[in-house]
Symmetry: C2
Subunit: 152 residues, 2 copies
DNA sequence: TACGGATCATTGAAAAAGTCAACGATTGTT
DNA sequence: AACAATCGTTGACTTTTTCAATGATCCGTA
């Protein structure tokens, strides 16, 4: 197993000044979250990233691979293999870009949307667990702050 | 580096439901933040992680490597090489655990504290940049929410 | 006290992820 | 028409992560 198990962790070190370092807080919450999310998504053959791609493919926004790379902070070549995988499993397909024939638009299949719905439900439970220490209002606040930090 | 440059990114896809997915928001903010942080720390021969280790070493808490691994969500073997590096450069040193002779306590050297002070100042500027879209109050709120989510 | 199981730091190997340059196809500009 | 730029793709390369094994040490129990 990796970094840390699911045991309760005594945060003796959290008292240090670094316990307020945004970079560290993000890294830590992201790490523990990924662990849980990937575990929850494993039942559907997905991981955090392939789930994200599938979600965007299901969104109706018809994203290009380049847009996926930018939005998900990935290298274009990483998007290639994520889409390859999802396409081989019949969950998404590549379509010709409409204004730009170099670009490829990623759209979901019916099966892709079916899997996505199930996976999304599992993830929601997962997020609730991860943010259990927060009230509903704080939960909303956190999302709002993260979004604002990212996109103003 | 890799993923995306420092250009402003048009978040056409942020409109999708996934734009509220906590996992993705954390991943994205963490990714862009790491990029900036590592760039800022490069002047001191540090990266996000070695900086974290150095910070804890400077904290006076006398952390063991195991505690560092738990707190930083790293595999123990990763802590070994981080400490190796810092120790070779004379910024920290390993000391015998006090109650437990298996454990090794990581403490900073004078030079380590000197570098750490400079690096910390650089990082603060960096974080301000990253969270420029937030007001001071929101900045504080965000830290508080992240800490609460992690440690209740 | 001595045994057995657990934990610590460390090593090294294997798997996964990230980085980067190059390519053909296509686009937009000059 | 020519040129540089962009898109997806490939392949090579580096870094990071993951994991099992090891010797030393600790702890509980017989």
């Amino acid at each position: 197993m990796g970094p840390q198990s699911t045991e309760v962790e005594t945060p003796r070190l959290a008292a240090a000044k670094i316990g307020s370092d945004v970079g560290l807080l993000l890294a830590k919450l992201h790490a523990t979250g990924s662990l849980l999310n990937n575990k929850a998504l494993a039942d559907y053959g997905l991981r955090e990233r392939s789930f994200s791609v599938l979600t965007l493919a299901c969104s109706g926004l018809e994203p290009t691979q380049r847009e996926l790379a930018d939005f998900l902070s990935l290298d274009p070549s990483q998007v290639v293999s994520l889409v390859d995988d999802l396409e081989h499993r019949g969950l998404v397909k590549r379509a010709q870009g409409k204004q730009d024939r170099r670009a490829k638009i990623i759209v979901s299949t019916a099966e892709g949307r079916r899997i996505h719905n199930k996976a999304r439900a599992a993830l929601e439970v997962c997020e609730e667990t991860q943010l259990a220490a927060l009230t509903d209002e704080e939960n909303v606040q956190l999302r709002a702050l993260l979004k604002k930090a990212l996109w103003g």
